[in-house]
Symmetry: C3
Subunit: 681 residues, 3 copies
């Protein structure tokens, strides 16, 4: 069961670091927060050196003082455990707690997240500070919940301290029992890598390491984070069962679904849409500004349908020496806030109240500037605050609705990080599908396949896209077959089904476990990269001549007469051979495409499927506008988000009430640049 | 008081390495040097292994023999202390003297400058070799002066040996007294970086270190170099007070002004114009070939108005494995020599007499080739030698004259190395101003703000440009206000005045300490980089439509009615808002521009200021020609340097004598490719 | 005397790793190998962990079982000694056997070739495993020969373990006897690098190390590999004198000629033409697809005129995380097989029988796919197998014939790796000559100058090209003069003859030892790179106007009236000066070109020489087709290889029999894409 935050209304919060400011400013800050309808502050996650200035000497008075004052202003508090930044005394006295580079050089004090999760000493010191901290604050009336650590695996998601190697060995012993099992799982007979003693094992420190080890290494890192988080979660559950527990992400090498299901009340996300804008448009036909963040939020929803955004970008971002982000234009902070809300955010916490005047993040701007005088960003947040007050009770608890879903799974994500023969295809196909669905205003979810994923989880969707599951078990194949049988439409792409859970290749024709379901095998193939050229495709009436493949060319061979060839290669020595097939199976269809999905191919497929927006009969809007629905059993709301820096015109085909203004819209309506509409359906 | 070399005439020297050649060649070398009017040789700076072949065993006979012979030919000698290259026996026995990589790996013997300045053992061994060397040579009649070490901070200007960490700790203790002061200055409360014991401190060895630590680190490195140099300077002053002391630069992380003022008789520069040519023109509208070197020489003049060029490029350059430079074309060596002279060089030492036949620098050519037979480079040097004989007594002691100045300061240079939110603007603006002034033949100086800089230092200039002083104190602001009040014109650009001396941000509206002087504040801003687009500017009659900003857009708000809007943004959501303002203040003006200066903007400003060349009524020359003036109270000489590979025509409006030929020029004159004119004014 | 493989017929083999597969597959594999005429399998080279699972515990039963079965199917076996991949127990117990990074960090277990050649412990353990292995298998009737280790110096050809530094010291002591000799040879007086104790010496671990040390370091590495290989060769010779010994290459820092002459029966090559295709065409005017491999094979022939290809690419290649190669198109595997045969391969071993399903090389495809079902690659190999059966006895033992040769030598190759002032010219000139000769169907050999190279070795060729021998001794110059005198045509390019064997520069005018032979000296020069522009050339009737130089411009000065100026510079300040000269000397000619050879310049020279294909009167073919001849005293065969993906038409001027089909060709014949013809001459 998915774990969601439980809020009665949309709630606004802000990250606040009282330790960065003269105490004399606090009261004015709290007063002004309340003026803009901020009712939650998040703090303390980088405060270990204050709470325990010397080993074993604790002082919790500072934040008690802050919380007393906050409470007086009606502010609630989320407290972060401070384990993301061990103090200098700690790392100096116990250097074994430090993370290390691949070469084994300790990562020195001076930044953050410089510790490893494996050190028993560090775990012991973390348990002690958390236990003391929870005891100190749990009964404070301002507290509403706990955040464990901060941004697990941010910046660094690989670990090479001695303690990590030891923990990896223990993890492997637990997983494999015998070295013989391990040697088989990793194929160590190749290149004479066979291990004859557990002590010979270590995390990958070579170029091009054994790929099966590399896959296990990522699983180990994820398990190691979760076990580290569990230490803290268990203490909080034990001492303070009445408050919720969360942590904030998303970062690599961590199964956030498993962590949330096992330890947390709900997951929290840190939303910085400009990171996405920066990377998103680079080689794109039609850019979708800021909507990489919508993909991320889609993934977050798969963990917790309703969740907290623990950090919402509210100004220019950047460190002193890198990550330069420009200043959000008027309206963008509000737009990004509703982007978070559309996708399921019920508690929205801005980062941060006021820009730090010292440290690495002096350019990671808060809504207030250094000078602390009124500015347009505070005014924009005040507008959101006012709107939340108006509509918050209606929206809170409703959830995003979609009939199309992507399937992802951690095994393929982690294996594909190293494996350039399938990993890069994933992002190519995801992006093409996501963008084409966005253009058509068709909402989409993500399903992360977990051991407990059931037919019921899948059957909610008309169409699921699982583009490149190189790792595929017969069990998963059977589940997917059931999904198709009951009426689902399932899409695969190149490199499906050729690896087992160890990342070893099956001695079966591609696509392995789903070959029979698809009714095809792969006869011949080549990767497409650099000088290895793409082939042309022919799909009468759907694709324009000269459309090229991307990433891979697999020459398909139809094995089952029920499988039908939809498109063929029209160049290369395999001209005329099948490239895209469809097989009716039970009530549904399974499609196989021997390449990575490009936008034109997805466009043609969507036409072929006659897949249209659930709001097609009510709203017509240009591609610049993201449209999604939040609904409960009782009510449904359409969110329209204009990411363009230009005003756009939309058609409202039935008279509909705009929740934010109370106006009724009909026929044409104009959304300003970065405008937001929430329509009652 | 600026420390200048005292020469009676322009003097030619050459670097000579007798230890690289059979002794039988020396006499012929000295004879031929004198033939081309070379009268000074510089040597011994890499000779430690010869002078002290075993620890504590000294042998100074070799260079005595060389100097005896040189003296016989009338050659004077500059001796370099040999501490830039500790011998193999030394680093092998005392590995603690080695510099280390950021990761702490010692930098092995095999190159040069592999030592650290902090090791007490190294300082002790340096003191001993210097003491012995000075005693051995100080009374030799050929000696005229000493060079300390060689090119401090060349190649490596960061240091991570254990001794460096220890010295940094001591330096911090001296600077801050208490850890509380240090923690405040560095804002260590951010990310829980608080130090509770001095032993926890070390030089920055992390990615994205604390920026205030990083700034102090550069100050420490500079102080450390100076204290290392002082050991040697003190010994020389004590034992050999009758000879001058210098060292050669310019390299990073070193306050050359302070070092010169405290220790040296004058500063020396190593001039390799091709380094500059290589990097200078890359993305430029109108390139200024070889004139990056003129900027460097301008900076050197700010240390010592008259100085020595200790190494003047005299052939192709390069190491075996990198830094490939082409061969200077006929005339370029002479041109570069006069470029040095124009900017204040009175002693010009070529690097080197003959190209080394072994070692890393076999392609760093001397004026003689390996084959030692006559060549065009020796002939060209001979021409310079003849000319120096003719004009040297007139020029020596005169100094460069300018009415415009750039202001720079080490705090901003060092802070801007790490801080990408102001550092990169500096070079952009400097280059635009420098180039536009060069096109108009308006000479410019550089002022390095030091604690002792006075109004008198500034008041010499009609216009000063201090483009991006992010770090700005109220004291400096007051000095600048005085400068404007007495009639100066002062120019600021974006990011002025928001940081204090620790690199922490003021809680004041930008531009902080000079906001009142400028009569404006900054309301809104964005950096401009990559996908964050520049805005357009509107300045009626001065800027063509569509002129874009560079680096930053600051939206200015006029706070004082005396401040006048000169140019406005003409695109973006701040269209129509002020971009460039001017305020009359006392007898002068202060300008503020909310971006980095581009060439078109500087061009418009210079038109607006009616700033013209001091020689406008006498000479008209194309942009390819650099024009400057060396003058004393009695005389003044205009230097015209044609950097073009084509002949150019100049207009001489009044009959003027060419010092080099004795001809009188009037009306049109043709300068050949790489030609030089020195006109009596 | 060149060491060649002795085969009675062209023989097909395949790499086979029985340890990667269930034992139940072996018999089917062997049966199918025989079906396609594979008669040799190569194995065991990565099997140490199986043969010696614990230190000192040996088990040779596995491969005995495999060989018994293979023998039953008539398969012969090449056994590899397993020293390229020490087992985990070995490196864990004896970490001193590991190679290290430049910084001294040991290269951990987890890949391959992670050992150093210097460790006495490793040498001892290698000797023991090899001795035991040879004893175990030498009498097995399936064995036909031994491969020592695998791909010496592949991936890593630099070594920094402590044992390497010690071995380098010993090597230096042996070479130089005294430190004084070493200091002189390395010019250590430069930058005070003088060594006063052997212990101070180490392999280069600095940036820009002493270049003479760097050259000796490569010689040391080569000697070290050879001495490591000799340990094994000696054991095999002692215990198993009846079987041949080889190893497979080519990789850097190894004098394969010396190794083969001293230790091996013949050399073996690993042929992956796609590596070459990937890198070859990038900046080329007319690409020669796949023919970089022909250059490599030309070099291999200079070691062993007839040789084994131990690994022939037979599918897509690549590791999990890099080196992605596409799938060979139909016909390419066969084409590449005959490319190897043309150049002298008599035993052709495909890599590998079936694609590995685990490990780093799961994408380094064998001829069989994971699924082990029939595919087109197996069918293509079967075709080659059938053809070998038909023509193999005729071709085996014949050798490639050429009248033109390139000269190379290890001193210049190794010195040129670091020295950017001559190294890059080499490849530029080689490529231009090779391509122009290929277009004209003129076969060419390579001669590697060794101490024992004689006039007889050179006199076989009408034309020899030695483009940039920076290192040149008077002895070599004398040999080359003899070659010219007896009628040879010799070509030099820029940077010839200025260095001695230590890599120190002569104090002689360029081109040093061959200045007199060429009748010219170099007056002036510049490198051409980046912003340093090329000059134009004038050669009436041969070069089109505007033809530019490449790499260097040397201004030549004719010293001997017999030297004639062929082409002159037509731009720059040396316009009109000689660029290309020719001197008649004895019966021959010597040419000097003051730049790197570009294709247009070589084209003009070939026209001037009237150099045409030896088959010009019999065959006319387009440039896409490589033509070469294998001949014995009794017979000769022309190979025509069509690298194009299009069919091409050739003219056969005299009726000629096609060996593969038995057809007689006359007049026009069409070669299909990737087609092969072998014509009886």
């Amino acid at each position: 069961m998915a774990r969601s935050i439980q809020m009665n209304e949309l709630t606004l919060g802000v990250c606040y670091y009282p330790e960065h400011w003269p105490e004399g400013l606090w009261e004015d800050d709290f007063r002004r927060m309340r003026e803009v309808n901020i009712s939650v502050i998040r703090m303390a996650e980088f405060s270990w050196a204050m709470l325990e200035p010397e080993e074993g000497v604790f002082d919790f008075s500072f934040f008690t003082r802050v919380m007393d004052l906050a409470q007086g202003y009606g502010l609630k508090v989320i407290l972060g455990t401070p384990t993301a930044t061990p103090p200098a005394w700690l790392t100096h006295k116990y250097p074994e707690v430090l993370n290390a580079t691949k070469e084994g050089v300790p990562i020195k004090h001076g930044m953050r997240r410089h510790y490893n999760y494996s050190s028993t000493k560090y775990r012991e010191l973390c348990e002690r500070i958390v236990r003391n901290m929870v005891n100190a604050y749990k009964d404070h009336p301002a507290v509403i919940g706990w955040q464990i650590d901060n941004e697990f695996n941010c910046e660094k998601n690989v670990f090479y301290a001695e303690a990590d190697h030891a923990a990896f060995r223990a993890w492997l012993k637990e997983k494999y029992g015998t070295l013989d099992h391990l040697n088989k799982a990793w194929g160590t007979v190749f290149w004479s890598q066979t291990y004859s003693d557990w002590e010979q094992l270590h995390l990958s420190q070579t170029e091009s390491p054994n790929p099966h080890l590399a896959l296990d290494e990522k699983r180990f890192i994820s398990d190691n984070v979760i076990s580290f988080a569990k230490l803290q979660a268990d203490i909080i559950r034990e001492l303070d069962p009445q408050h919720w527990v969360t942590t904030n992400g998303l970062f690599g090498h961590l199964n956030n679904h498993e962590m949330t299901d096992e330890l947390l009340d709900f997951f929290s996300y840190d939303s910085y849409p400009q990171f996405s804008t920066i990377f998103y448009n680079d080689d794109e036909i039609k850019p979708l500004r800021d909507r990489q963040s919508s993909i991320n939020l889609t993934n977050v929803r798969s963990i917790s349908p309703n969740f907290c955004v623990m950090e919402q970008q509210s100004g220019p971002g950047g460190w002193v020496d890198r990550i330069e982000m420009g200043t959000p234009r008027p309206g963008q902070i509000r737009l990004w806030s509703y982007q978070s809300v559309l996708h399921g955010t019920d508690l929205l916490v801005y980062f941060r109240w006021r820009t730090a005047t010292f440290g690495t993040e002096i350019y990671w701007h808060g809504i207030n500037d250094y000078h602390n005088q009124p500015n347009r960003r505070v005014r924009e947040v005040a507008q959101v605050g006012g709107e939340f007050a108006k509509i918050g009770a209606l929206i809170a608890g409703t959830a995003y609705k979609a009939e199309v879903a992507f399937i992802q799974d951690y095994n393929n994500i982690w294996d594909g990080e190293m494996d350039v023969w399938h990993g890069p295809l994933q992002w190519q196909s995801m992006r093409s599908w996501f963008k084409q669905l966005q253009y058509r205003h068709i909402p989409a979810d993500t399903i992360f396949l977990q051991p407990q994923t059931s037919l019921e989880d899948l059957a909610k969707y008309k169409v699921v896209v699982y583009p490149h599951p190189a790792i595929m078990t017969d069990e998963t194949a059977a589940l997917l077959a059931q999904y198709v049988e009951q009426g689902g439409k399932l899409f695969f792409g190149a490199r499906t089904g050729y690896k087992d859970l160890n990342g070893q290749c099956y001695m079966r024709p591609f696509p392995g476990p789903v070959a029979e379901l698809c009714g095809i095998t792969v006869e011949d193939f080549t990767l497409v990269k650099g000088r290895i050229k793409a082939a042309e495709l022919h799909w009468e009436g759907r694709l324009s001549e000269g459309t090229k493949t991307v990433g891979f060319n697999e020459v398909l061979s139809v094995q089952n007469p029920e499988a039908e060839v939809v498109a063929r290669y029209s160049s290369e020595y395999y001209e005329g051979e099948p490239a895209l097939t469809r097989r009716g199976y039970g009530q549904g269809q399974v499609w196989y495409y021997g390449a990575a999905y490009s936008e034109p191919v997805v466009d043609a497929i969507l036409d072929e499927l006659h897949l249209i927006s659930p709001l097609a009969d009510r709203i017509h809007a240009p591609e610049e506008v993201e449209i999604g629905i939040r609904a409960s059993d009782e009510a449904a709301y359409a969110f329209l988000l204009n990411y363009s820096d230009q005003a756009v015109t939309i058609q409202v085909k039935q008279a509909t009430k705009d929740l934010l203004t109370g106006d009724t819209l009909h026929n044409e309506a104009v959304m300003p640049a970065y405008g937001v509409l929430i329509l009652e359906l």
